[in-house]
Subunit: 213 residues, 2 copies
Amino acid sequence: MAARDYGQFDGITRAVELVGERWALLIVRDLLVGPRRYGELAAGLPRIPTNILATRLKELQAAGVIRRAPRSRIIIYELTDYGRELEPVVLALGNWGFKTLGDPRDEQILTADAMAITLRGAFRPEVAASLPATSYGARFSSAGLLISVDGTSLSVKRGDGPADLAFAAGPGIHRLISGELGAHQALATGVVELLDGDRALLGRFAETFHVAA
Amino acid sequence: MAARDYGQFDGITRAVELVGERWALLIVRDLLVGPRRYGELAAGLPRIPTNILATRLKELQAAGVIRRAPRSRIIIYELTDYGRELEPVVLALGNWGFKTLGDPRDEQILTADAMAITLRGAFRPEVAASLPATSYGARFSSAGLLISVDGTSLSVKRGDGPADLAFAAGPGIHRLISGELGAHQALATGVVELLDGDRALLGRFAETFHVAA
DNA sequence: CGGGATCCCTTAGGATACTG
DNA sequence: CAGTATCCTAAGGGATCCCG
């Protein structure tokens, strides 16, 4: 692979050689949420050509970032310890990019995995510490997320289930997290749709998860 | 630019759309050290085709990451405030990649700018706090670096000048920073060549700048 | 001489179809 | 379901040339 070779010897060059190819960091993003099967990755990255997904998975594996784990008959992809060390980098990079998200174009989607990482990056433990433990259920077109906040600890997982507040949202939810919209504005404009629970809890959600522009 | 469009709406996708293209993060890396002219960037990135450098500079400018600043007659490229916010991300990514740097291949070079960023990432303020203020002059094939440590503050600039310890080094210096080699081993094996000053200060250097594998 | 633009060729990536 | 195989286009690599 001479093409991906930058001819330099330092940490950043090495890093971009490992995870700098197109789509690679988005695969890492999704795997940070949890182990995924090939088809799940493909579903979360609808625009990735299947041959590119296959190529990237092999490259990331060769790089020691991910691992193929055969579970009974099916194959699961998961991050190695080294790959998981990318978490702070990915969260920081995500926050950086988040600040200049404009308005979503029609063809742009927000997947549950992307939202899970956004929430991890936007989590403010120092704010959550003084709030009651709360669980949220968030529905996206693709899948659901179970978010539970208890003191300074956060857990975001895929799935559905009972929660103190359940809501549905799309890409527009970034305006709630950036503070551009308040909680009741988000509900009024339909950016967030209340499914179940106390609507007042959406304010708590917005306090807990915030990225300043 | 449909090709660089991932069809998703979240922070990481946005970030890789802004700085995820080939060479882009290496340009940011060098500009984090200081403003640079076109030719300086090209010299620090010897393998980048000139048309790609020109394209990237335009893209990064359009993305609001860098800015063209005409200084009298010459043009200087520098990071915007938004671009400078990438510093912690770039340092963290560099440290991540640093951990799996193998041995340098013959054609791999270490530029002064890359080393400057490596040092910023490897700086341990909590260690430096209890050490005397020290200045180092480091020579690379490409250029020199003036490093000065005073308490928890670090400054790394390009240039030459008087320093408490002056040394010359190449890519192999990563083995000193990783701790694979001790200071006197680094001198004995020629990885670091003493130019001037007290050789014992190289041990202090290795304590001050360290990235664990 | 700095700051690019142009040319041609190679390779990676996108779209789609197909297979164990 | 988990990938290969194929074909085509667009981006990147390398050298050279241009312009103020």
